[in-house]
Structures are given as C-alpha cells and as structure tokens.
Symmetry: D2
Subunit: 345 residues, 4 copies
C-alpha cells in the first residue's frame, strides 16, 4: 500500500480526491489537512464520506506529517502551494500539486498573471501532468503540476490537430463553460444557489488565469507563439466543463482525415473517447468519471473546424487526473481506481 | 381595446404570449387555438394562467375565428405558418408570425435550410420584426416575421459594430447557449428533466437553421455576404439565451470608441441595456423581461472584440418581441405591457 | 403618488420589493438603505434592476430619511426591526415590517424562540398582515407585521378547516419545503450552489422559529392551544414554498362539503386559487406571482385530510404580501401592482 | 464469473444496473434487451456507457437468450415482469425482478392496486428483497422482488421503531420526495425539463401504488394491520428520495433510547448510516451510492418522533439494491461492486 497525504482537504477538489482514493485498491489515505476544520473528522465536513473516510482534519504542520505519507497531493490555493512544495521535495516525497504554481514553465509569465514566485527553482523539473501528452515524463518525475480544468479540456481537444499542423493557431477561439464547483467552496455571494441557479454568464472575458497555461501548451505543440481568445462561462450546475473551440482548417483536410488523426492519437487512451460524426459531447455523460469526450465538425462553409470536448472538472479536470498522475509516479497501472463509469442521470 | 388572436397556444411561446397579453392594458385576447387541447380551458393546459386567462382552446378553424380578432399571433411550427398567413392577410388582418417562414427574404435560401415555400409571394412585404433595427417598417406592415431567439441575441449584439464597419465580418464566430424551453414542449426523450439536468451540450454544430437568418441580417448590415460559424448549446435551465461573439477588430478602435458606438446606437432604446466595462451579461438578470443586455471586451492581445448578449428566449426572443411588434403595428406605445422588471432570483 | 422607503434593500426580499414597486402605478420608491452597499446604485447590487430602479443605497440614518417617505418597508433581520419600528411610528409613518419582531402577540413566546424584545409595547397594536384573514384590521393599522413565508402557506391552507372546526388540531402535521432564497443572501457555505444543487434535505426539524407563529394563528382559529409538528426542508431551486399538511378529519365531512368550505372562504379572493379535485399545487405555477394555490385530498382510508398549498416565498410569502398590505394601509385597491401572472416555465 | 442478463436496459434503472455491473469484479453482463432500441449498442442509447459496456440491445426473445446468463434482472414495467418470470424460473435461472409484480404477498391486494395477476402461483416463494430485513431468505431464494424506491426509504427508516413497538402505527404520516428519474425515461410532457425545473409538486396524494407495499411491510413489523397517509412529491433534480415520517411515540422513550435501538439494529450494516443527533439526511450525500442515511428527532412538544431517510432512488432504491440481492443470491460478499462513495457535489 502506498501511503498518500492530502493537503487541503476541505475544498471540492480535496473532497473529490478523498472520494476517489478511498476506493483505490493500492493506496491508503493517511493524512488530510484543513486549517479551517482542524480537529474535525473529514466525514463531518463532507457527510457523503461518512463511513468511507475515517480521518481527522489536521493543521498543516508539515514537519509533523511529512513522514506519514510517501506522496502528497496539494489541493491548496496557488501561492500556498509554492510555499509547501520545496519542503516535501527536500524530504524526499513525491508531490502532485493541483495548484497553478508549477504549471507555467516561464516564471515571468507566471508572475505576470499571478504573483511573484518564491520557488521558481523547481519550475524546470516540474512536469505538466497531462498523461496523454507527457506520460513518460510524469513516470520519472518527483513534482507533477496537475493541469487546470479548462486547460485539460482545451489541450486534449486540440493536441492532434496542432501536432499535425492542420489548423491555423492564430485563429483559435476557445469558448469554455464550467460548472460552479470550479469556483470552489468559498463562502461568496456570487456562488450562492440563488445567484447561479437558472442562470448563465460569461466572466473574466479575455482575462482568465488559465489563458497562459493553455497558450504555453498550445504554443509548444504548434511550434510557435500562440495567443488565443479564451472566454470562460459559469453553468447552472455543479460539475462539468465543455469547451467549444474554433480554428481555421488548413487546406486538404476533411472529416475523414481529421477523424483518422484523432483515432491515431487517442485510439489507445483509456480516458479519451472520440464521438462518431454528428455527435457532440455532453457533460452529463462524463460526470463523476475521468473521461474526456471529444467530437468535432469540419465546416466547409466557413473553412473552420469546431472541436467540442467535455470533462468532469473535478475528476479529469482535477482529482481524477491527479490520481492518474499518482499512478504513473508510483508505477501502478495508469487507470487504477479510475475505472468507474460516469453517473447518469 | 384591440382584439388579438393566438394561433398555437399550447407551446411555451403561446403560453408566454398569453401571460404577457393578459396584463396588457389595451389588448383583449379573444381566441386561443390548439389542436391537441381543443375544448380544454387554456388555464388547464397551463395552470399558471388559472384565474388570469379565461379562454377555451379551440381547433384552428380559420373561417370561424378570423372575425373575432384584429391581429393574429402565429405561434405554430414553420410550414404550418405559411399555410395560414395568406388567409389572415387576405381577410384584412395583421399578422405577427413567430415561425421562421417569413424571416428569410430569399425563398431559395429558405428552401435550402427548411422546405419548399408555398407562400413566397408574401416574402417581399414581410418585415423582419426586430424593432431596434426596423421600427419604421414594422409600424406600417401587415405581416411581421418575428425574429428567432438566437438571431435576436446575435443581431442586436453586432448591429452597432457592423453598421460602423469596425469588425471584420469574415472572422465572426458565434457561440450561443439556450435554455431548454427553446426546444419546445414536445414530448421528446431528449428534453426530459433527467437528460438535461446538470448537463450541458453542443448540438447541430454548424447546421442550425438560425444560421441563414443571422447571416441575412449580418450581411445586410455589413454590406457584403457574410458566413459565420454558429454553434448552439443547451443549458440546464428553462429560460435564457447568452451569445458570446468573437470578431477581429479593425484598426483604430478601442474600448472607448466602441462604447460610444453602442451608446449612440442604443442609448434611447427601452429594452437594450449596455453594461459598464468589465461587466458581462447574465441570463438570470433578464429572465421574464423583454431586456437584451450587452457587454463587450476589446482584447488588444488578440486584436479581437468579444461581445456578450443575454435575453430571455421566450420574451425578447419570442413572445415579448412579438408584443413589441404588435404595439408598433397598432400604434400603441412600443413598450406597452412590457415594462415588467426581470425576475431574480 | 405615495412615497415609500425600503429599509434593507440588499437581501432577496428587498430586491423583490424594489422589483414590484418599480411597476406599481401609484407608488414612488424614494429611499433604499443598505449598510453593506451604501453609496452604490441598487441596480449595481442587483443588475436585474438596471434601468428599472434609479436609487443609491444609503446608510440607515433614520433621521435623515424619515421625511422622504410616507410608509416604510422594513426588510431587515429580526432584532434590527424592533430597534427601528418605534422611531418610524413616532414620526407618524406607517410601517410594514417583514421581520418576525411583531408577529408574535405574546412577548414571552417571542422571547422563548428569539431573543429579548425591546419594543414589546407595540405588540398589541401590530396587526398580523395576512389580508385574507385580517383585511379590516390592516386597513386601519399603522404597524403591520408581515407574515413569515412558511406560516403564510400553512395558515391560508388551514383557515377554512379550522374556522369550521372540521379537523382535529391535535393531529396536525406540517411538512414544508422551501426554495433556497428563503435562506437569504448571506455568504454561507450551506447556501452555495454546489451544496444545494441536485439535493434536498430537512433542517431544524421541530425547532424552526416559524413554529410559534403558525401555532399562534392556528390556535386563534381553532379556539384552543394547538401544538404542531413542523418540518422545513430545502429544495434545489430558488423560489417557492410547498406545504403538505395532514390532519384527522371530523366525522361527517367529505370532499364535497370540504370543497364548499374552501369555495365559500376563498371564492372572492384575488390571490387564492382553489384547484379542482385530484389536482395539487406546484410551485412552478405560482412563481413570481402573489398567488397561493390550494388543493386537498379527503382520504377515507386513513380518516385524514391532506391539504397542499404553494406560494412564491418571495412574493406572497414576503414582498408581494407586503405590497398587498401597503395597498390596504394606503387605501389603494388591494391587488394594485400585483396582477402579474406567474412566470412559467 | 457469474453471467447476468438485463431485461429492460433502456430505462434509467436498466442503465444504472449496467453502470454498476460493468465495474463488478465477479460478474459479466452478457445480455441486454430493449425492444425500442434492438440492434443498437447500449452505449449509443446511453452515451455515458461508451467504452464501458460493449453490448447490443436485443429483442426480448427469451428462448434465445435464456442460456446466456445464470441470473436475470428484470427492469421492465409491472405486468411485463409477471409474463417473464415463470419462464426464467422454469429454465432454472435466478431472477431479481425490479417491477412491483412480486412484492405484494396477497394477490388480491396486488390486483386492487394494479391489475389481474397472471403468475400468482409464484407470490409465495418470492422474497421481498430488502437485505437488511430479509437477508437470509434472499440468500436461498430463486425469485427476489426488489423493493420499490419509496418503500425502501420508508421501511428502513421505520423498522427499528416498529419491531420494538415504540411508535403508534395508527398515527403514521409519510411525506416522501423523489427526483424525476423515478418517473422513468418515457417521453411525457410532465417529465420535461421545463415542466419540472425550478418547481416542486405533490402527486397521487393518498393514491400512490407504493402505499400497499409499504403497508404490507409495516404491518408485518407492527404485528397489526396498518394504514398510512402517504404523499409522494417530485423534486427538481434527477436522483434521490427523502422521506420524512411522523409517528406518535410510545411513553418511556427518548432520544437516547431510540438512538440505541437504531444502533443495535443497523450498527453492522454496510449501507445504512445513522446520523448524529441534530443532523438530518440530505440526498446529495448519498447520490450515486447504495447508502441509506437516517436521522431522527424526538419531539417532546408534540409527543411525536420524526424520522428522515435519504437514498439514491436509482441505487439503493433500485439497481444497487438489486445488485446487493444478486450478491446474496450468488453467495458473493453482499457489498461487492457497491463500495463506491457518494458523488458530491
């Protein structure tokens, strides 16, 4: 049994990690921290875990807890993560960091969108934990930067097209929609049921911090600096992200050739499901699972391709992908503990 | 009192017309038809109207009902509308047709997206009933083609930009999201609560029949043939449409100059609300009202403008706009019966 | 024009008062207070009111604002209300208090369920503002205690039965379900979208503070001290209360005799709608309106009657009823400004 | 591997069985029938199962499929089930029937609430499949009548009280609320998103067919004929049932003694979770799991006890309990394949 610790257990991502890990056959969750709920059973903070997880929340006293696990998940806000990562690494632990702190390779880009970076010396070795793209690097890493939820949905959708050079990256428009759990469990008026229910809105148009993360990965695949239009929206539901992505298609491509690209790229992937022509993803069909569903439309009228992808933002967009990375880091089968089918309806 | 008849009362649009009209001070609803519910009180089909509307649904026997109203709303499916319109016009009645049948000026375009047109001789005189653009024409018309819900949200958002020539229409990407009421009240598995709840999907990507309607109006304003990428999506909520629209911005424009364009264009409009910089529309803030909220972002990073608009698809996107057109047709104040503030939460 | 002031404009009840009043033909809203948002336009706090309400929120400085209105609505928490009421009354103003502070006639009962009462000298003159029961008293009052949302739904459902003595009040079980707006606009984790969405729960079983209010009114009608079982629940929706009420039926009553009782009692009421046999209320059919829908089932198998009532908790359960009371207090037609049909879907 | 067949795969219960079974380590799903979708992959009917279930729907040709499985789940409507059960039993197969056809021991009671029974000769041997009450009988049965969703929530809540004789069964009031998936996947207007969303209603008050099923089990435990008031309601959500149950408490009982009763009764149960004093179940904390959460309030003011229980209607209320019964029937660990923690949010 691999012993794992969960730092930041009281958010939705923390709870989702606990949910997945408590059914993982080769892992024991040994530590769960939460400043706010220290001393309280995690199953009291999250009553769905009653009878499933038997841990007390404890304060983040790293010295006291570091020896009780082999690998740590950090489900804490950015800035907090960069303060903790060096300690765990220097103690010889593996870390899957779910914050944004080690996703951006270039410290100056990070600092332009976030704040000063106090642990930039670890950026070079941090592996961007999208297993479908960086499986080998993850396997040998000690620090994995777990991707953001929006970026996961966008990068997986675009990778085959960009690597094959069949879209014009200067034309990329990314219109993404997320369930409210992406806004976290903070007590904000804006996240109240009555503010979000039966409603839909755009926010941070052109300003969202996931933009540089998406652009970094897209630029790497495109072999050129890419700037995208990225608009996030909030859906009146808890879980799920759907991204609709538009790009000019290079000459000589059609539905069949594009389909072959996707099939070659993702045919062997356990968690990516390519939909048949004329069908498009729906978040309700990936809910609670680690699946990423992808569909596309080649539109000769406009010369564009429209790619649509759907994930559960808390699973493939956060906790599930983190466990997938943990499996790789620990030499376990990549899908261990993640086979569960989506929950519908 | 103007006597109005409602042909097709048993869909959501019909019910919404009845709801608005029963509070309209200068109108009497005298006829409501529904094949399916003929003989049943409309307030039994729609219990929210109990005590508010006191009409029996009757069969669509046009000869028997034509004399009982001065103006008819047609809230029937396309194809059915084109069969009815000639009769009402020839009987000297005014018609607001909420179907698609008279929105497309060019019969061949209509026929390419819908089916053969049996009343194409009326296309030339039909006025596209977007009062903010065609107020004068509506006032003197006898046949108004009430715009589609998606097109209303898109055309209003783009009109000031296109008329001023400050965007490149070849770059237009329109990503729209609608509440489920847009799919109608038909008993389809796809519209069940459990299929739509807590879920979000794209559909008819690049194929939706509102595409030619949007392109017609945009082309007229742009002064050139425009082809757009249009992707509709279904939201887990009943009412509301939000459209997020992307276009390359011509050189020399910035937030201030664009804002002035919008203010000049819509400053006197009762139902268009321009949001301040950094704020974007949300469907929950227009629900139940005839408002169209518009916000935008000029993004120098990408050279694009992103415009976001929100309407209630059943009000400004259908029944409310139809009443606005009726007011114009009948010489009433344009906003009569439509002043009600949005219902939030 | 009657000038009215709104003390406590930043909660959902305050916003709903503003929404209703801005369409009221004989009223001008002249004051809106909010400590939290002082200096901000109310239409910025609640963007649905943009273009409809043109008032700045101001601090609750009673001396400064008392002369600017003839009647004040207090939409503030209990305890705060009792501090303000004496001032407004002594200044010669009429008050509709939406808090609980003046609903309970017996100060000791109030103090047992709430906290010490600092203005108990006004309890005797405060009129419990349920117009269907106390219309005459309201008309001549200067202080109206606007009923609670749950109590409104329960008392209206039971009044005809209790006054006729045809149920056994010792057997009363009241099972009520409310939308989340009843919990207010406070930033609490428990009211977040993700906590409430797709979920349903009971709370404060047997302990809710609306219990003594219901019991007071029921006891008055029954002519004996009545104790009830009252269980509130939270629904995954914003607006609406549905109460399901069980009581042993006295011998000699059947569906027909009970129906006659209800018809006699409510036949002339503008806002109470009695449903036909076999039909039961649904909150979606009263949403946004001042209606109270009532249905019942006489069940010979059990000897019980089951009464079901539905209201919009923010309208008939709060702001709408308050305006109904205002109309009575000011000699206006009781339904003025409240005729709007429910919004469905 | 045990081979199991699923008759009636195209409803929500059928899909949920497929979802659970595809992760069950000791079971192979070999047959899935659906008249409506015969010839279509089940994963096309239910896209969430894509990549998880690789079976074609086939017609219900019992002779052709009977040899391909050892046990059959019948997820078909009542009436259809009674036509199929004899065939499977006579072929030596075990059957878990999820319809109502074999739940009622007394054919005349069944026929009074449903329709004539054509296989009443099997009623005597059918075991009511509530494992917490009838575990031993289920283990040796060949025909298990899987309980209804409402009855599961009610009977589990009441069993300890009734067996201990500490409530007065003549006072029982059961107020239950269900998610819309309980209404099935039929294409009915009443189940549309727009009809159910943001709304709540009572239905079949005193008339629901689960009444005799609940009364049968309650009467057995009470040792006397019991008649209950039972009111079902529909919640604006897909999954979950919450039942609020009221009964007069016999003298001499208090919170502590009742708590001990529940702990003794359910302390060893894997799927029943007793909540601490002052906490009550919420459906969102059992979603997607086989858990039944129970909380209660002893109310000295009224002399009543209020018990609240929550289940996922599709899991513990249908497919999960069916798998639990299958495990017992097949000698597997009772919880095999059902350990998954609830999905929240």
């Amino acid at each position: 049994m691999i012993r794992v610790g969960l730092v930041g257990a009281s958010g939705y991502t923390g709870a989702e990690l606990a949910r997945i890990l408590c059914n993982h056959p080769q892992v024991e969750l040994t530590v769960a921290t939460s400043r706010q709920y220290a001393g309280k059973p995690l199953a009291e903070v999250f009553p769905h875990l009653r009878g499933k997880v038997d841990l007390l929340c404890e304060n983040v006293a790293v010295e006291a807890l570091v020896d009780r696990a082999d690998l740590f998940f950090l489900a804490v806000p950015h800035k907090t993560a960069m303060d903790l990562v060096p300690f765990f690494l220097e103690a010889g632990k593996k870390v899957v960091d779910l914050s944004a702190d080690f996703r951006i390779h270039d410290a100056s880009v990070y600092e332009a969108w976030y704040q000063p970076h106090s642990a930039a010396q670890y950026l070079a070795e941090a592996v961007y934990g999208l297993p479908e793209l960086y499986r080998d690097k993850v396997s040998t890493a000690r620090l994995v930067a777990n991707p953001g939820c929006y970026p996961t949905s966008v990068i997986l959708a675009l990778a085959p097209l960009l690597k094959a050079g069949c879209i014009d990256p200067t034309t990329l428009v990314v219109d993404s929609k997320s369930g409210v759990s992406g806004a976290g469990r903070g007590a904000n008026v804006g996240s109240l049921y009555c503010e979000m229910g039966e409603g839909f809105k755009a926010y941070k148009v052109g300003d969202h911090r996931h933009t540089p993360e998406i652009e970094q990965e897209i630029s790497l695949m495109a072999g050129q600096e890419v700037v995208i239009s990225f608009t996030p929206h909030l859906l009146p539901m808890s879980r799920g992200i759907l991204s609709t992505i538009y790009a000019g298609l290079a000459a000589g491509h059609d539905e069949a050739s594009i389909r072959k690209l996707y099939e070659d790229f993702y045919g062997q992937e356990e968690f990516v499901r390519l939909l048949p022509q004329g069908e498009y993803p729906a978040t309700q069909f990936v809910r609670g699972s680690n699946c990423c569903d992808i569909g596309f439309k080649v539109d000769p009228r406009t010369g564009r391709i429209v790619v649509v992808s759907a994930i559960d933002n808390l699973v493939k967009g956060a906790a599930g992908q983190a466990v997938q990375n943990m499996n790789l880091l620990c030499g376990l089968p990549e899908g261990e503990g993640l086979a569960q089918a989506p929950l519908f309806p």
